[in-house]
Symmetry: C2
Subunit: 221 residues, 2 copies
């Protein structure tokens, strides 16, 4: 981060204010979630007057959007890392199952390791499927989940007729648990307890998606 004000900075130009603001914004989001991404504080830390930000971002929301995309990318990368850590020599069916679990586990680990960034990532309702917020594979977190489910179908572990919309069901479960853990009644649980609960949740998703016996409850309205 460059110097703190014009006099100390020496130069009238800053150099790369846009990038600096983004990095500061990320730091703020990390520490305090979306509400902590405050334009004036960001410019202060960048050593620049508040209005300078408007040369690079239309308004506070634009900065927040950029931070949000970065947070989504970080989440995607965390999920990819969890996938990459899987053994490469498993049989296809076990591999497909393990991949879905890795997607969920990576998601939950990130939420717990970086709650501020996690909350920021989902503070903007867009960008979830847009071109932004991708990891090194070019997929968003959502895309990674969809791909894992496709692989599950290809491996025969998920009936194709149950595939459509399944990403929403799986995402609901994992995202909901993440919320409970970072600022719901489950905050305060230690890492191991959360991990166990996460694995039980993933069991539920796997069982529930594949569909055990009898299909959906008859007579539902």
């Amino acid at each position: 981060m460059p110097d703190r004000d014009t006099s100390r900075r020496g130069t009238y130009r800053h150099g790369d204010l846009r990038r600096t603001l983004l990095e500061v914004g990320i730091a703020l989001a990390r520490a305090g979630g979306p509400d902590a991404v405050v334009l004036r504080e960001a410019t202060r830390r960048a050593g620049v007057v508040p209005n300078a930000a408007y040369r690079h971002f239309a308004d506070r929301q634009a900065l927040l959007n950029a931070v949000c995309s970065t947070a989504l990318s970080a989440l995607a990368i965390a999920m990819e890392a969890e996938i990459a850590a899987l053994p490469h020599d498993s049989p296809p069916l076990a591999a497909a199952r393990a991949r879905l679990r890795a997607v969920g586990t990576g998601y939950l680990r990130f939420a717990q390791a970086e709650p501020g960034l996690f909350r920021t990532a989902f503070s903007v309702p867009d960008n979830l499927d847009g071109p932004a917020g991708v990891g090194t594979s070019g997929l968003t977190p959502f895309g990674l989940l969809a791909a894992a489910l496709d692989a599950l179908v290809a491996a025969g572990a998920l009936p194709p007729e149950r595939r459509p919309g399944a990403e929403f069901l799986a995402w609901s479960a994992v995202h909901g648990l993440a919320m409970l853990v970072i600022d719901g009644p489950l905050r305060g649980l230690d890492r191991a307890q959360i991990h166990d609960l996460g694995q039980r949740l993933l069991d539920m998703v796997e069982q529930g998606l594949a569909g055990g016996g009898g299909g959906p409850t008859p007579g539902r309205d």
Copy 2:
């Protein structure tokens, strides 16, 4: 709502400012979620000077907490209404299953019918299990879910060893879907589509909680 200012109001005293502020706060939350619960705007609508609020609420957060409790109560009541609408002559096992579905359906319907209140209800991390935010049965939304799961165990539809923590798994799934629907990629779906997805989700929860064949995936870490 009483008159808009002292001159029109006539009386120096307001009458029941605390209640008025709470009601206005609920209206604001309904329309715009937690961020719309703005102290100055609430006092403006109550026809009173901003500082008057501090005689009844310690600060903005205290007002928001009160609104949050009310929103939680409204959610509990919506869920109770869904339960009450169930037929009373079903066999116990079917009744227990239907009750769990009603809990989830009521939750999702409320989120969709009152997104502002719903978001407000979960904007304060406490109050989820405290004495506040209860419905006519005296239970919080969380308590209603727990009771439905207990009934499921009593009816034999859920093995007792799977009961502990099951409320967190079920809640995760339903809450996550609610989030997707009110400000995630699923907003914009019409009522019927959401209902269908909700029922599929509840199928997944039912299947996944009861545990089909073989129990959890072996070899999970």
